[in-house]
Symmetry: C2
DNA sequence: GCGGAATAGATGAGCTCTCAACTACGCTTA
DNA sequence: TAAGCGTAGTTGAGAGCTCATCTATTCCGC
């Protein structure tokens, strides 16, 4: 009867200025919240168990691999990974320990560093990619119709324009 | 040119049995991945900064508040929060320290415990709810058309049937 | 050139989550 | 009623993330 977001017996009636969610909105919100949460956890766990690579680290390797010379400035890498500078810095330290990435001083900017994907790192990515793609296909694309996939992209793009206007 | 999931120059051509994503699927996947990631982080940060409550803890309070007597078995609470037993156990310990939840032995089952929402916990939820609802509305519902909301619910339900068949 | 603001990145503490044990109780069967 | 198994929940170690802080370098205006 009550809702995720409005505790109490009939709080929607209280005119406190809050734009509460109506029943339909709540259904939609919960479906979205739970499905994204479960999907992300599922993908994370499958990738982790099969390869020992957390998805956030996988994303770093992917971004570096897509660059012509497999290297990128730390701050640009952070942006592309939707990561904070701090998070990326910690993550690259771990990846360095694995021998998959190394830091290289940047010629143009004395403050800057380049994250460079090593051959070992590329090999690790090559080994992990099929596992992850299969997970995405199994749990996402195999479940949705073409129309649903199109709608998903449309919704995602719409939200991105608001959340990350570049 | 290359993709998130298939490293290298033209790996899709390699017939290694992997059902790689085509360009359109990749666009859709990235839009979904990035938008969900950004939205979740945004909601988490806004709730955390305004109230000091992580979203996972908020969800626990919500589930307890929606129950008639504001209490629930630990394991059922874990299921409803899409949480592992371990995660819930740790979280409830923290919530106990805040005085928002207490554990009570279960009469019917000597192994079981009830998590009980205290008045302080309910008050904390009441204070937090408007903040969180406003975030959800601002960053989600205000951005989407009615058709997009309907599609979002449809996609979410479809994925849930697969990921969490209950 | 020089001083102050902005930028690049690192660092450490604190927190949450995961994973793998581990304890304790209930249920079933012989 | 005792053995064995499944279930409920906890615990601790290890890992990643956030936030605030810190250092080093560059940029900009005078």
């Amino acid at each position: 009867m009550t809702t995720e977001v409005s505790p109490g017996a009939a709080p929607d009636a209280e005119d406190d200025g809050t734009r509460w969610l109506d029943t339909g909105e709540q259904r939609a919100w919960r479906a979205w919240l739970y499905s994204t949460q479960l999907l992300q956890e599922r993908l994370e766990r499958e990738l982790m168990r099969a390869t020992g690579i957390p998805h956030a680290y996988y994303e770093i390797l992917v971004q570096l691999s897509e660059t012509p010379d497999r290297q990128m400035r730390m701050s640009e890498l952070a942006d592309r990974c939707l990561s904070s500078r701090s998070r990326l810095s910690h993550a690259v330290s771990r990846l360095e320990e694995r021998g998959w990435v190394r830091r290289q001083v940047c010629a143009e900017d004395g403050r800057g560093l380049l994250a460079v994907l090593t051959d070992e790192g590329f090999a690790a990515l090559e080994a992990a990619a099929p596992v992850h793609v299969e997970s995405v296909r199994t749990h996402l694309f195999d479940q949705l119709s073409a129309e649903q996939v199109a709608a998903m992209e449309d919704i995602g793009r719409t939200l991105l324009r608001h959340l990350d206007p570049d």
